[in-house]
Symmetry: C2
Subunit: 339 residues, 2 copies
């Protein structure tokens, strides 16, 4: 049995999306047990009317609510009875609880994870690894995408090891092709950080390093995971998502500008719907935080039920595949830690 | 009369695109005089059969050719008789020559510009500023997009001043809205560099600083120019272009997958053509190098004639508006240089 806590508050569609996503995940994985954290009455109201195995769900009552604009440090200090912080505490204290999923504040979650949960042995900096769809029908991960705005080459090598193991163990990608985000393909491109990281990644036999990647090639399908500092990784992910969404939005607007276009679009309705689904990040789950000693998955603030379900699936597979132990084993070869 | 050198070699469609673009620019601007650098016979062969005012074109014969993989330092040292390096030398030595346009190697051009042409008074680092179309029908500049992978907050302030004046003087944008590329909107977001730059930009009355911009909002139309270090600026521009092109490519492929989609697309042919033109960077000219003591415009390596013509237009307007002198005037208020 795998036990996962779902923070049911803090998202745009909370608690409804979180509770419905949780119920769907229970159907998907028969050996899953869930703990739903948040206001007990509100969660019970969402559960009411659904058919589910009540013995596989517990509620962790947490009355406090975290506001949008609260600073991460204030959340940890002042919102000890909130759904997120109570969940983090239970994750820390209860050995039987394997993982946590949250759609709440990213900053607060990272701060709480680092101070309350801690890191895998040997890991210097946990890092986010969101997943994007490629144009060849596959997926690509980006690590880090925002947890660490300043990094060293050693951090980048750890991101490469962690994310490569993640793509292999959770998505079943054989020898994931790992690239380094850079301003050109040649080894000597970029600043000293990139040049040193290029060398280190090439000297790491546990990963399949395929060289530098220019940002325009992210969706090409030629890479399985891209390693970056959290600043440029964040720019990479958000500008790619932003451009695709803006362009789809423009197409939609232009279609409505002429009758003949509307007719054409009607014939293509199924295709446009598929494109929209394809680009919809809700279908790809959340951004996992790699490197913490227990599994933590951060869903988009705008997550709907399907996205929450995917986040639970990611957490479940990370735990099932023993990703943490596998990561420690490789990392400790480089960081001179005793296992 | 404004005299501009066009480097006619080094692009994918050189010298044909460069010469045809030059001829179109001559028609567009009656007081323009052009010097075409490169192999004289090849340029004459391209000119043959066209009607033009021969008194407004000179040829600067340059027999050497620069290969794709040559290192910038080798180009400067060993290719002194190439079209790019001869053009740079003439630009430096001839006071009557105002500007240069090239579609050749970016690295070689930047290296040659910095070592042979020098900077405007007070400018610490010249920076690139390419232009992208926004979804609201306008344009947005990104400065720097790759000339400087490591920068300080002072550099970022200079980029902001230079690019704001550029958008105002060349594109006629009144009080351009200047944003700082960051991982979130709040002033305290990002690393120390971003936090310091945020403060400096806010203390610069010559620019209309509107705060941090997240990369997903680049095409929103809410900003006229975005300031970034060359690494993340490069990631921003290339991932935005890359995502848009990949998505259009996928749409095209999917249209051909079913007969009914082809019928629909046929009705929408005009619209799709317009979208393609809209996203076509050829229509937006090149990436100007701001901060050099003479005007330098770098066109895409894949530039066709229309793009070369736009690059010449950009160079012409930069010179006509006396952008260099205006930039020096503002910069020297901050850098304690005597004008």
């Amino acid at each position: 049995m795998i036990k996962i806590i779902v923070d049911c508050f803090g998202g745009d569609h909370s608690p409804q999306a979180n509770v419905q996503g949780a119920l769907a995940a229970l159907v998907q994985f028969p050996d899953l047990h869930l703990i739903l954290s948040g206001d007990e009455e509100a969660i019970k109201a969402q559960l009411a009317g659904n058919e589910y195995d009540a013995s596989r769900i517990d509620i962790l009552h947490a009355p406090q609510v975290i506001g949008c604009d609260e600073r991460p440090t204030d959340v940890i200090r002042l919102k000890r009875e909130s759904s997120m912080i109570k969940a983090i505490r239970l994750l820390r204290d209860d050995d039987s609880v394997a993982a946590m999923v949250s759609t709440g504040s990213t900053g607060a979650l990272v701060a709480a994870a680092l101070t309350r949960i801690g890191r895998l042995r040997g890991i210097i900096r946990p890092a986010f690894c969101p997943i994007l769809p490629t144009m060849s029908g596959g997926i690509v991960g980006v690590c880090d995408s925002g947890a660490n705005v300043e990094v060293t080459a050693d951090h980048l090598r750890q991101f490469a090891i962690m994310s490569s193991l993640y793509m292999e163990n959770v998505y079943g990608i054989y020898k994931p092709r790992v690239a380094l985000l850079n301003v050109g393909k040649e080894p000597e491109k970029g600043d000293e950080l990139r040049q040193t990281a290029y060398r280190l990644l090439g000297e790491t036999p546990e990963i399949n390093f395929v060289g530098n990647m220019e940002s325009r090639d992210l969706l090409s399908g030629n890479y399985d995971v891209v390693v970056a500092d959290g600043f440029s990784g964040n720019v990479l992910v958000k500008s790619t998502e932003g451009a695709a969404l803006e362009l789809l939005g423009k197409l939609k607007k232009d279609i409505y500008s002429k009758f003949i276009y509307k007719v054409g679009a009607a014939l293509m309705a199924k295709m446009f719907k598929e494109e929209k689904e394809f680009m919809n990040y809700q279908n790809y789950g959340g951004s996992v935080l790699l490197g913490t000693s227990k599994v933590i998955v951060k869903g988009h603030g705008s997550s709907k039920a399907v996205s929450v379900q995917k986040c639970i699936e990611q957490a479940y597979k990370m735990q099932l595949s023993e990703l943490g132990a596998k990561t420690e084993e490789v990392i400790c070869r480089y960081e001179h830690y005793e296992l």
